[in-house]
Amino acid sequence: MSLPVAEENLEQHLPLEFSDEKESIKITGFWMFLVTDVLIFGSLFSSYAVYRSAFAQGPTPNQLFTFGPVILETLLLLTSSFTIGLAIYAMRKQNKKALMAWLVVTLLLGAGFVTSEVHDFVGYVASGATWHQSGFLSAFFFLVGTHGAHVTFGILWAVTLLIQVARRGLTPITARKLFTFSLYWHFLDIVWIFIFTFVYLNGKIV
C-alpha cells in the first residue's frame, strides 16, 4: 500500500558544470535568458532595417563608416571567441592555470574591441553625426551601442569570475558560471557577425 517516492539525489557522470542538478538547471535558465537577448537584438536589427534609409539631413552609412577600425574590431572579437573556447577546454581538463590565462586573454581582446568602438563613436560624434541627426543614426547607435554595452558588461563579469576561480578553484558552481559566460561571449560574437554584415558591409556597398 505504500507510495513510491523519489530519491533525493542521483549520481551522474557529466562535465563538471552539469554534474550538479541545480547547476545544470541554471544552464537551461541561461539559455532561456539568451532567447530573450536574441529577441532584443532581433528587435534592434529590424528597427535598423526600417530606419536604414531615414537619413534626414545626416550622413549616409557610406559617408560615415570607415573599414579599418571595423575590421580590427572584428578580428579582436572573433579571436576572443576562440580564446574563450580554449579557456573552457582547459576547464574541462581541470587546468585552472590555463583556464585563467585564456580568460585574461579573452578579457583583454574584449577590452581592445570596446576601446576601438568607443574611439569610433567619439569620432562620429565629433564629426557632427550624433544620434539626434537622423533616425538612421539613432538606430545605428542603439543597435551597435547595445552590443558594445553587452561586451563591456561581459568584461566586468569575467573579472568577477577570475576572482571567484582564483579563490575557490574549479567546483560545479564556478564551472557553471564560466560555462554560461562562454555561452554569452559566443553569442555576442555571433551578434557582431550580423552587425558586421548588415550594418557595415551592407552600408559600405549599397
Partner: protein, 659 residues
Amino acid sequence: MPSFVQYLIRTLFPHDVLRPTELGADVMILATGVIIVYYLTKQKKWLYLWNEWLTTVDHKKIAVMYLIAAVAMLFRGGVDALMLRTNLALPTTPVISDLEYNQVFTTHGTIMIFFMAMPFIFALFNAVVPLMIGARDVAFPRLNAMSFWLFAFGALLLNISFVIGGSPDAGWTAYPPYTGLLFNPGPGENYYFLSLLIAGIGTTMTGVNFLVTTLRMRAPGMTLMKMPMFIWATMATSALILFAFPPLTVALAMSLFDRLFGSSFFTLAHGGLPMMYVNLFWLFGHPEVYIVVLPPFGIFSEVVATFSRKALFGYSVMVVSIISIMFLAYGTWVHHFFTMGAGPAVNAFFGLSTMLIAIPTGVKIFNWIFTMWGGRIRLTTAMLYQLAFIPTFVIGGATGILLATVPADYQLHNTYFLIAHFHNVLIGGTLFGLLSGMYYWWPKMFGHKLNERQGQWAFWLYFIGFWVTFGPQYLLGLKGMTRRIYTYPLGFGWHELNVISTVGAFIMGAGFVVMVYNVVWSLKYGEKDLTGDPWDGRTLEWALPSPVPEYNFARIPVVTARDAWWDMKQKGQTLANSLRPEDMRTIELPKNTPVPFLLGLAFFVVGFGMTFQWWVIVAFGAAGVVASLVYSAFDYDEHKHVGAEVIRRTEAALGRLQG
C-alpha cells in the same frame, strides 16, 4: 526660501498634483502610512516583516505578496475607472478636466494590465505551480524574489507619479507623438517608460523562471502529457513572455531616449518614424493579451474538472490548442492598426490570421462544456466564475472577429465598440479566471476557505455589473462614440447609454467592496481547511496540508497518472497514509536574502532620478544596482538544510505520519 527648495517644490508638486483629487489622495496615503508604521512599531513587527517577508525567497510567500499588490492595484485602477465613468455620465458638468481625464485613463489602463493582471497571474503561478508539479520551489528562488521586487518597485514608481510630479497622460499604449518631448514635457511619461522598463525586467525573469521550472523541476513520472492543464498554460504563457517582452523593452527604451537623450526614433523631424513604435508595441501587445488570458484558461481547466468530478475532456486537444494559440498570437499584431493603411494585402492577411485564433479558442470552449456534460457539478464561487466566463468570453471573441473584419474595423476602430470588446475578454476572461483561481486556491494559500455566500454575492455583483457597464458600450460604439473623450455634446443620443454604463461600473465597484469584506471576514471566521483537500481535488497541490509547510513535500512523490492526486486517492496510496518516520530525509531549501529587495530599491532610485533627470541620484541608484549584483555573484551561501528530525516533527504535528 533658497531657490533650490523652490525649484524642488515646483518640480515635485506642480499644479496638476495639487487638485482636490490628488490632495485627497495625499491625505489618505499619509494616513494609511501612519497607521501601518504605528501598527508595526506597536506590535514590534518590523523584524518579522523583514525576516519573514521582505527577504523571503519562498514561492508561497512571494505569491501572497503578489496577491496583495494585485488587489491593491485593482482598487487603484477601479477608482480610476469610476472617475472616468462619473465624468461620462455628466457630460454637461464634467467632474474632472480634460487634462486630468487623460491622466486617469492612462493610469487606469497601465495599472490594470501591467500592475493588476500580471501580478495576479504571478501570484497564482507562485502559489501553485511548484506544488502541482511536485517541486520544493521554483527553479531560481532568488531570481523569483528579484522579479517580485522589480515589479513592486516599478509599480510604486508609476503610482507615485499621481502625487509627485504628475501622471502620464498618453494612454496605456503611449503612442508617439503624444509622448514626444515637444508635446508632452514634464515627468509623467518618464514615469511611464521607466516603471514599465523596471517591472518588465522582472516579468521577463519570471517568464524564464517558470519556463525552466515547468521544464526541469517536475516530479519523476510527470511526463509532458501527464502535466495538469494549468502547467501547460504556465509553460505557454512563460514562452510568450520570453518572446513578447523584448520588443516592448526596445520600444520603451527608444521612447525614453527620445525624451531624455535627444535621439530621433519617433520624432516628427529628423527622419523619426512614429509608426515603428506602434509596430513594436503591438508586437508585444497582442501576445500580451494572450499572456493574460492563457493562465485563466488553465485555471478554468482545473476548476471545471474538480467541480464536475470528471477528468478534463479532450486533454490532448486542449494541449494542441494552447500551443497553436501561442504561435498564432505572434501573427496578428497588425489588427490593432488596420487604419494605418498598410494596404489590402497586408490587412487581409492579418484579418485572416486573427480570425484563425478563434478556432483553437472555440475548441477549448467546447471541451470545457463537454467536461461539465454528465458531471456532478457543484456550484461553488470558483465554478460560478467558470459558468459566467463561457458565454461572456464567447461574445467577446465574436466581437473580436467583427473587429478583425477590416472594412468593419475602419468604422469601429477606437470607438466604444473596441472598448467593450477588450473589456469583454479582459474582464470576462482574465479577471473572472483569476478570481475563480483565487477562490479555488485560497484554502491552499491561507489554510481557510473564503465564505461562499459572500463570495457569491460578490460574483453576482461583478457579473451583472459587467454586463450593465459594457453592454451599452457596444451600442455607443455603433452610434459613433469614440474612446478617450472626457465629455460629449448631448444631441447624439449617447447620454442615456452612458448613464446606464456608469451605473454598471458602480455595481462592479460594490462587487469589489463585498469581495474585500469577504476576504477580511474569512481571515477571522473562515472555515478552516483541516484536510488539505477541501474541494476533493485532482492535482498534487491538494495532497499537501493547508497552508503548506515551508518544504512543500516531505518526500517527492512519483507520478503515474494525469490527475495524480485523484489517482492516488483511488488507489489509497496517498503521501499522508504511506510515509513513515524513518522515510524522512534532510532537505535542502533556499535561504533568505536581502539582495532582491535592495536591488529593487536601487532600481527605484535610478528610475526616480531619471524621471526628473537628477543624475546624481541616478548614479547613487546605479551604484546600488552594481553593488547588489556583485554581492550576489560572490555569495555562495544560498542554501540551508532542514534536518530529517524537524520534518518528522512537523509532519507528525500535521497528523501525516504513520506509526
